[in-house]
Amino acid sequence: MNDNDQWPRQVVITGLGLVTSIGLGAEEFLAGLRAGRSGAKPITAFDTSGFAHSYGCEVADFDPAEWIRTFQPEELGRATQFSVAAANMAVADAGIGAEELRGRRTMVSVGTTDAESRDLDLLVGEQLDKGPEHLTPGIARRAHASRLSTSIVRELGLTDVEALTIPTACAAGNYAIGSGYDAIRAGDVDVALCGGADAVCRKTFAGFYRLGTIAPEVCQPFDRDRKGILTGEGAGILMMESLESARARGARIYAEVLGYGLTCDAHHPVAPDQDSLARCMALAHRNAGITEADVDFISAHGTGTKANDVTEAGAIRQVFDTPPPTVSIKSMVGHSMGAASALGSAACALAIAEGFIPPTINHRETDPECGLDCVPNKARPAELTVVQNNALAFAGNNAVLILGRHREAA
């Protein structure tokens, strides 16, 4: 801890690790966001016969051996492979050496919806084929949610570290980033590697399909003809550190984390609640020390279901006199579950650093019930100062994160 630090400390994002269906690494992800690339394609993760439609946003061409050093790929489930790969990318992107990182007190915090449910799917298959006495021990060992964070610790050889996995479903990425923000801000740790990871699995696809919320081929958030979500996968890990730490090593700063808010609807297992989400946004603004008028664009949860988009738009209008442009990158990367708000946060950080608002693709006609400027189909150049990243989850868990441009005082 540096005695020259201002208290509470400022927290900045200095590295991004991204495993997404529209590109691996910050540069490719950025190119995808600018171009409005789509990650949608037929699902290959499991046998989809019997489903009338089965598109998703899988990460194709991911070779774990290319991104992971300490582990043999088969020691890790797919979601953990994503989280470890993204952590390696974030550290490399931040330009901090492995030794230097090991000398810092660190937090590793990874959000998820399903953790290694894909492995649990595999084990059910083994049970049906051979009986429960004959499961592959390596898969049983790696199928734990805690592995998403502890495997990053192992990969990087960290010792002075607090590791946690936050399985708060589809808002988990924002939760994890918030936990790192609080820890750095208070001086508990110097560095935090935070984000989210998930892998496409049969269990979750079948569940959403049964609920009638899977779109046949494209995800069209806020569109009059939207038909639902496309399940996706990937990981986003953000390297966060105190401003003093970033300055001391001359690091590039993408954005500053200004604050966040959390609320629970305490109302319904799957249906969102407008008032509770509005309260969450207001809490986030207060925590970040901003007002709604400061927000230059919103990266929405924007799943593309009837219920989410109308409720979320309603909550935005409840809080904002004049809603700013509100986009959903899920139109491009699908709903990557626990990784979703981490990818959204990374997109916000890149948007601030590069001066543009990512588009909502597949857009034809805005639903008047939503009534938002969703930056249809083409990225828009913009000077951004404050941006907001929304996340909602099953069980009524909401998390809203606020990022801002970091300006060095003259």
Binding site: S49, G50, F51, T113, D114, A115, S117, L120, L123, V124, Q127, L128, P132, A140, R141, A143, H144, A145, S146, R147, S149, T150, S151, V153, R154, G157, T159, D160, V161, E162, A163, L164, T165, I166, P167, T168, A169, S179, D182, R185, D188, R202, K203, T204, A206, G207, R210, L262, T263, C264, D265, A266, H267, H268, P269, S276, N287, F394, A395, G396
Partner: protein, 366 residues
């Protein structure tokens, strides 16, 4: 140092439902491990420590409990007991109350049953939509909030055997960050056939047959001022938590010892002040690690070691939560001097170590 104290708490454990049976069971050192009902719980184990005759409907009512899985029932029941014990003031500001609950991977039974239905049904989407939320790992925390109307931050934490400690650290930070005025914090784990098979196949050889347990514990963390104003007795003060990681099992002992030294240093306390230590008693290739590390820092003639694995079985993600409950049970003992320190430790096979340091309430506090 944390500003938080432990006041009201509850447990749903193999000793029964409530903090009182837990306290008596732990104080008496009685084992709750017994023969499993093999019809209800087939699988590789013949013995286990289950919450006796547990049925959530008996405790929280029949309505809405049909589709609730076992771990959700345990959590909702434990939170309900705590709220009842804490008095009406506790539910008067639902927006300012947080809930942080530790889990393994939610209910692996619910998740795997759902996949099974998709694989063996006539159509792959012939799954029960009402049970879909059970397959998402924040179900127990979220349903506890829905059931009891808790509207503050609602977070699910997974940290292997350290889960209860990780959740505690997260909860304290949530409070300090201004996200809630007080926070219910705990951990829960269910016994299920699928969890049993995963443990059986995933554990080290010599640890394989060690019986499993289940249960949950929830604690109210609040400021001493709030506890006093509401007439809730302060049981202990949370001093600090510390965590480290180790690459090789041979480094686990040093990693945990370092955590304990740091925690004492941060609290400005001496090793001799620690009266009780509750280790997780992690087995397999880490067996004995915690006891050795505790000896390294606190000396061989040190504190009373309060192990509960022989009494409650291996409760996986609930382990550290139940250790905390065991420590609070013991601190309630009239022989415990006010201000005495207690330590909860854990190591996990995935290479993490951690501890929490508590101080029994002083005369002014209680």
């Amino acid at each position: 140092m944390s500003a938080l104290v432990f006041s009201t708490w509850s447990a749903v454990s193999p000793y029964g439902v409530g903090s009182e049976p837990f306290r008596t069971g732990i104080q008496a050192g009685r084992s709750a491990i017994g023969a499993l009902d093999r019809a209800a719980f087939p699988g590789p184990f013949t013995e286990g420590a289950l919450v006796p005759d547990f049925n959530a409907a008996d405790h929280i009512g029949r309505k809405g409990t049909r589709t609730m899985d076992r771990v959700t029932g345990i959590a909702v029941t434990a939170v309900g007991l705590l709220l009842a014990d804490g008095g009406p003031e506790l539910t008067s500001r639902p927006e300012e109350t947080g809930l942080v609950l530790g889990t393994g991977s939610g209910s692996v039974q619910s998740i795997m049953d759902f996949t099974r239905d998709s694989l063996v049904g006539e159509r792959p989407y012939h799954v029960d939509p009402a049970r879909f939320p059970n397959t998402v790992m924040n179900r127990a925390a979220g349903q506890s909030a829905i059931w009891h109307g808790i509207k503050g931050p609602n977070t699910t934490i997974a940290g292997g055997r350290l889960t209860g400690l990780t959740a505690l650290s997260y909860a304290a930070r949530l409070h300090r960050g201004g996200h809630c005025a007080r926070v219910l914090c705990g951990a829960a784990e269910e016994y299920s056939e699928q969890r049993a098979w995963l443990e059986w196949h995933g554990r080290d050889g010599d640890d394989r047959t060690s019986p499993l347990g289940e249960g949950g514990a929830v604690f109210l963390l609040e400021t001493a001022e709030d506890a006093r104003a509401a007439g809730r007795r302060v049981r202990a003060r949370l001093l600090t938590t510390r965590f480290r990681a180790f690459a090789e099992p041979s480094d686990a002992r040093a990693a945990l010892a370092e955590c304990v030294r740091d925690a004492l240093k941060q609290a400005g306390a001496r090793a001799g002040e620690v009266r009780v230590v509750a280790p997780a008693e992690t087995g397999g290739h880490l067996a004995g690690t915690e006891e050795a590390a505790i000896g390294d820092v606190l000396g061989s003639a040190g504190p009373r070691l309060l192990g509960s694995r022989a009494l409650l079985g291996d409760t996986s993600a609930a382990t550290a939560g139940l250790q905390l409950a065991a420590v609070l049970s013991l601190l309630d003992d009239e022989e415990t001097p006010p201000g005495a320190l207690a330590l909860v430790t854990a190591v996990d096979r995935d290479g993490t170590a951690g501890c929490a340091l508590l101080a029994a309430a002083t005369n002014e506090e209680s």
